[in-house]
Subunit: 834 residues, 2 copies
């Protein structure tokens, strides 16, 4: 038993010995099984050394196919029916046209496939009523799917909110009457609660009260403290243990991987059932443990998992990687919509930040799904205030043009912090990947949790959850507010000034000074702990911690401005708009602007961020301050490096992601990037006729390329088409097994007509059906900026390079990424996948 525990704490058991079912023989119909448990639990993820990225058997070779030919040859074992003559032109071999794990899809092929399918349905629909109904149901299946995604995601988000509230409260105490009530509900249900004392009721007992019978004194404090640490450690241990045991992909925020998946990469199981289940449970645990992380980013992952799983209900989406990515783009919008109650902001987030291919149809559907999700969440009403939004804010005072100066200051702070955070976090994550630190993920989580709990408990602003903190900082002080942050000196003529909720600026009282000190300490703590928290092996979002840092800074600046205005209302700056007794500075607005600035610095979001914040307040009025701060923050942060945190993590993990926002600035030509290089051996090509099965097999065996151009003849090098290694191997195997007479000396024929052969020759193997007859070509003189543009816009995997009509070489997405890495003086071998 003790050995079991020590193994948990020390190092992950070696999954590597287990055969990865993802590569198991005969998995060529693999696009269906990406939410199977076996697929996920058994991923050969060397969890202790790499960050979310499965290892390659042998580093980063170009165009390396991880599919060994022996396993693919065994693939056709599946179809061991009666041997018959199969013409690949008519009856596609199962497996042809699917993708392997950790490979990039061919957008053009996928979209073309979908158009073929659609064309077929449309043509059939004219034949009979049943087919017409099928066509109509096919057209509406997208909307139905969106509805389901919205409903499911909204429901799950509501559940997560409720569970996290309850468990967060459990760290402090328990509701003795109804233990399943959280602190707020417990006291609401009580009859003895007054509005003033709404957080104190006899039903709710802290752990000290329960154990020692008293809630006062040093001993009670220590008991509460210890219980707080105990629960925090328990929750975080459960979180990391569950992630580790059942779904390694459930850790982190998931947004970098979703970006990569949306750009056309395949990570099987990343959006599967198990990942979803484990992510939901561990997200609640991680949030409740009090770590400096948020649930907003992971909610995007949860929504994408829902969408991916629901895609299996519809053939249209199950079978097409491009169509499925449209749904996932919409799901990303749904995630943000439920996280912030901001459907429009969610759609813009998906458009701006996450999506790669976002047709207008998707825009409309995303919006629909985001709305459905937001309203589902509202009907669950997890915050108990029937507000759609997480932080409902209502400001009363308008802002003045002079205030733009502090807002821009907040923008500068946000930009600086964002740049610094990214650098520090990436350095830490790289250290985790490369040193022994990464071998103890459970230990790491427990140590960080203990540290967080120890430091956080004594300070009320760090003890409360990030969302609560932000909510309190955003709030304007109303007359009845009893919070420390509103500890102003009451003016003498208490009843005269101010109507309703608007209160004049007042001098700060001792309560506020205490609050400011505590906030300053909380700021330093949050800034440091978030750097090491993000990237641990638990689900962790960045939105809330970033916003918290900004909100604290903003509130501090806001209170400072308020006091400045109060004591200097006759100076030039304030004269004219801020007379004595007026309510001119709203510290809550500063907090909000600061939060936007910091979040913008970290993620480099722009429009979506402003719109999300706008949806929180509902007033167009405050867009200008938000915009000024966000813009400044982005400019300042970009001056230190153009990558946001998600792109930085994508690069750290070596995913093949072509950033659509960044322009390719270098003046190289296609000929500089293509393979083979001048010193390399010539490009491995197939000829359209004249090669035997044995020769083709030998060529495939001797190289690692994932595809081969087909030319008219070795001598002319005129291009005919392109064949993928995977398709080639499957088809040859299939031919050998099923087609009579195909032996090693059979000719492989890619032409339309069968060439004349000697009468005693074995029957040829015709493979025109698996050849891509329209491979993309560029000339050797094409500037790389144009080539990169083509790759991005069309979603290519590879592109052939010609010179005066002759085939010269090939450029893959990986070649481009390596070239870009070289230009910016980074290690080209950091690009792991193709």
């Amino acid at each position: 038993m003790s050995q079991f525990w020590s193994s948990w704490f020390r190092e992950y058991p070696d999954f590597g010995g287990m055969e990865n079912p993802g590569y198991r023989t005969g998995s060529f119909d693999g696009d269906d099984d990406d939410d199977e448990m076996v697929d996920i639990a058994g991923v050969t993820l060397d969890f202790s050394t790499t960050d979310d990225a499965p290892p390659l058997s042998s580093g980063g070779y170009e165009e390396y196919s991880r599919n060994s030919s022996s396993s693919s040859r065994a693939a056709s074992m599946n179809g061991n029916g009666p041997t018959k003559l199969v013409d690949p032109l008519e009856d596609p071999v199962p497996g042809v046209g699917t993708y392997e794990d950790f490979n990039t899809i061919d957008w053009v092929r996928e979209k073309s496939k979908d158009r073929d399918r659609h064309r077929e349905i449309t043509n059939k629909s004219r034949q009979s009523t049943v087919n017409l109904l099928h066509s109509v149901s096919d057209a509406f299946s997208g909307w139905l799917l969106m509805l389901l995604v919205g409903l499911l995601s909204g429901a799950l988000a509501g559940g997560i909110d409720i569970a996290a509230h309850w468990m967060t409260a459990m760290k402090e105490g328990v509701c003795v009457v109804h233990f399943w009530y959280n602190h707020e509900h417990c006291c609401w249900a009580s009859n003895e609660t007054t509005f003033q004392e709404r957080h104190h009721c006899p039903q709710w007992q802290s752990w000290a009260e329960l154990i020692t019978g008293t809630s006062e004194g040093a001993f009670a404090y220590i008991v509460n403290f210890l219980m707080y640490i105990f629960w925090a450690l328990l929750f975080s241990f459960l979180a990391v243990a569950l992630v580790r045991a059942f779904a390694p992909y459930a850790c982190g925020s998931g947004i970098p991987e979703i970006k990569t998946i949306l750009s056309g990469f395949i990570i099987r199981g990343y959006l599967g059932k198990w990942t979803l289940m484990i992510k939901i449970i561990t997200l609640v645990l991680a949030v409740s443990s009090g770590l400096s992380l948020g649930k907003e980013g992971p909610l995007v992952h949860v929504a994408c998992c829902c969408a991916n799983i629901l895609c299996h209900l519809f053939t249209k989406y199950r079978k097409n990687e491009a169509k499925r990515r449209e749904v996932l783009s919409a799901a990303a919008a749904v995630g943000v919509s439920v996280a912030f109650g901001a459907p429009i902001g969610g759609v813009l987030f998906s458009l701006e930040e996450v999506s790669y291919y976002f047709p207008l149809k998707t825009l409309w559907r995303s919006f629909f799904a985001a709305l459905v999700a937001a309203f589902t969440l509202r009907s669950i009403n997890p915050f108990g205030n029937s507000q759609l939004v997480l932080f409902y804010v209502e400001f009363h005072a308008p802002w003045h043009l002079v205030e733009l100066a502090p807002f821009i200051l907040l923008g500068i702070f946000g930009g600086l912090w964002g740049a610094l955070f990214i650098k520090a976090n990436i350095a830490w994550c790289r250290r985790r990947k490369t040193t022994r630190l990464g071998h103890y993920p459970v230990m790491e989580v427990l140590v960080v949790t203990a540290l967080t709990a120890l430091i956080a408990y004594p300070n009320i602003y760090t003890r409360m959850s990030g969302a609560e903190l932000i909510s309190e900082l955003f709030n304007d002080c109303s007359r009845l507010d009893s919070s420390q942050l509103c500890g102003y000196q009451q003016p003498a003529n208490n009843t005269d000034t101010g109507v309703g909720n608007t209160l004049p600026d007042r001098p700060a009282g001792p309560g506020l000074y205490t609050a400011l000190w505590q906030l300053a300490l909380a700021l330093v703590f949050k800034m440091m702990i978030t750097v090491i928290t993000f990237g641990m092996k638990v689900p962790s979002g960045l939105f809330i911690p970033s916003m918290a840092v900004g909100a604290i800074t903003g509130r501090l600046l806001g209170v400072g401005m308020e006091q400045l205005a109060y004591y200097n209302h006759d100076s030039i700056i304030f004269k004219g708009w801020c007379s004595q007794g007026a309510d001119c500075i709203t510290p809550g607005l500063y907090a909000m602007v600061g939060a936007a600035a910091c979040l913008g610095g970290v993620t480099r979001m722009t429009v979506s961020l402003v719109v999300i914040m706008f949806e929180l307040t509902g007033g167009l009025e405050y867009i200008v301050p938000l915009m000024a701060a966000t813009m400044t923050s982005k400019w300042v942060a970009d001056a230190f490096g153009r990558e946001g945190i998600y792109e930085a993590h994508i690069r750290l993990n070596g995913y093949p992601f072509l950033e659509p926002k960044e322009e390719f600035e270098h003046s190289s030509l296609a000929v500089d990037v293509m393979r083979p290089r001048r010193s390399d051996p010539a490009l491995a090509v197939l000829t359209q006729e004249g090669m035997t099965v044995g020769e083709v097999e030998a060529l495939v065996e001797s190289t690692h390329y994932s595809g081969f151009p087909v030319v008219v003849s070795q001598q002319s090098q005129r291009l005919v088409g392109f064949v993928l290694r995977r398709d080639l191997l499957i088809s040859i195997d299939n031919g050998r097994k099923r087609q009579e007479g195909v032996v090693s000396s059979s000719q492989v024929v890619f032409t339309e007509h069968t060439p004349s052969q000697a009468p005693d020759a074995p029957p040829p193997l015709r493979l025109r059906g698996i050849m891509d007859l329209s491979p993309f070509t560029v000339t050797d003189h094409t500037p790389m900026d144009i080539t990169v543009d083509i790759f991005r816009k069309l979603g290519l995997r590879q592109c052939l390079v010609t010179h005066n009509g002759r085939l010269l070489g090939i450029i893959t997405k990986k070649d481009i990424l390596k070239h870009m890495a070289q230009i910016t003086n980074r290690d080209p071998d950091s690009i792991l996948f193709n």
Copy 2:
């Protein structure tokens, strides 16, 4: 004199005899002069027969270059400097790389050009501080431009609003004290006005009062009526006369042309100074004349003109057609932002409806510009209520799920009306183009105005302007409302029920019944008159008339529902949510939903429409009804034809516009679309060496193609590059004039090295510099859906087709459009431009 008038009324004078300065010799630096007066006023627009589209000299030939070779040869007259040896490789000939009017730009080339420019500035910036400053100012020039566009557009929109208000009021009377006040301002300024009687004050006198001294009786009514018609006719005559005389491009809404321009077409002068000035003046006149048209669409045109003119301040945007289109996309957002006070909706409108190439950078900048414009407009405060929005609405009652049924009904109505309107309007516009009707544009406008004024005056709902009508229909009835629409029977216990503004549902009174009849008549009138109004030769937007139709229908249905609920509050449908004395149905909300549905049916906007409407109300609450209606409306309308009104007008005018939203569904291959067809003579190609200047000139003269592929040799047909006709002619002329020894027998050389020649041969003309070394190619087997995708996404003009590495043919954008027309059984010759 009388002859002058009769000529005005009968037929436009023939501009055709005047030489079109747009095609004047030596205009190759023409991208600078598109806002010159001479260019615009002199456009050979056969205004009486074509609709916004200049005629082609000879129909619609493929790849026909409207630039006769003689004029382009004369082009080089410009550069009659000292004869020196110019190597085109080093010193580009002026004019090479620019475009002619009514041609499509090459997006790839333009973007590549801009990247080159940027690279140069970046490289230089490392050399000196001045260059660094230049680089920084270059980077910020985009933002400065956006700021200017926002400020100017906001100011112009404010001016238009104020002028239109004043002139609309002038049709009814005049403010005797301050004649420059409109009705409202006049009575506000008066001390004798009470709130109840806020529209009656002694300072404001109707024309009858001024002329006859009395405002009562039949005679006064007739005087007012006649004055109303007189002003309406005067305004509309001035509008059409100004448009006709100074800026023919100023008519219509402008959105179809802007869509086409943004997709890469060049229409010189369409966004020039004169168009802007005339459009502003005539827009005010047209709106004031009481015609059934709105100013929202034309405001988009106005904003785009502002942007285009301001682009001339910055070299970066002046010289690059692609960059300029980014700014124009943002300007379209600005236009909608000032039209509706909806910045986010404006950005989404630009993204969804207008733009073709919309990088994320543009999204952010559009948003900035839209905000600046909205706030500029608000600081001008043309509506006098310091609201940002045109129709400020505040609803109090929530809606109930049961109400979705009438909302969807409204959606169905909107869809049906949209489809019907498009069909009717296009049929009418086609009739105008093809029959003698189009020869009398001034007469047409006057007749329609007279008709409108005659029918509109007696009915108060048609007499008021469209915007006022919508505003009244959207409004919820408050207790103090004196309008006819709120003519309910007051309940007996007047003071008991209802708190603040919420009033319970009440039975309809006689006032309301009168209003309903008038509204029904107004509906019929608006539906008919809008069909013939949109497309006349005055600036005319469609948003307001469409919304008016929908709002009337919605209000009628809403009042009907309200009465139904009032009298049947115990039936199953209403039981439980609509008890007696409750405020459950809001007819204003129905009006709003109806307006959205009809606008959606006509324009097929989706997200942007919902967001614009959402920004009008400010409540997320009402998004669901809006969305349900918009979605239904789009589905219903799409069932009758997938084109919105703008796409229909684009098609009517034969613009080369590749709809990015529509999928290409047919299964043809590139070989089916390319030229030459099987029966045609072979493709005209140049060889990279061996052809003489004379031979090249002869080939160019004998064909109409706008570009020629360059091959290795006639026999091998291996592709080297592509040369544009225009560039070729300019360069040959330039060589003949400036380069010593170039005669007809000189060899034209496209290779890098000069081939060996006989020693006595004239020096060769080296033209590699003007050859595009990276022409786009597809294979003959490429499915057309993929080819269309490539054209759309990369913004190509033409694409070469190869088979097994040999050049086979060419596909131009026009070929694709013709092919698409053929498939859908339309006349392929309706595609006019290339």
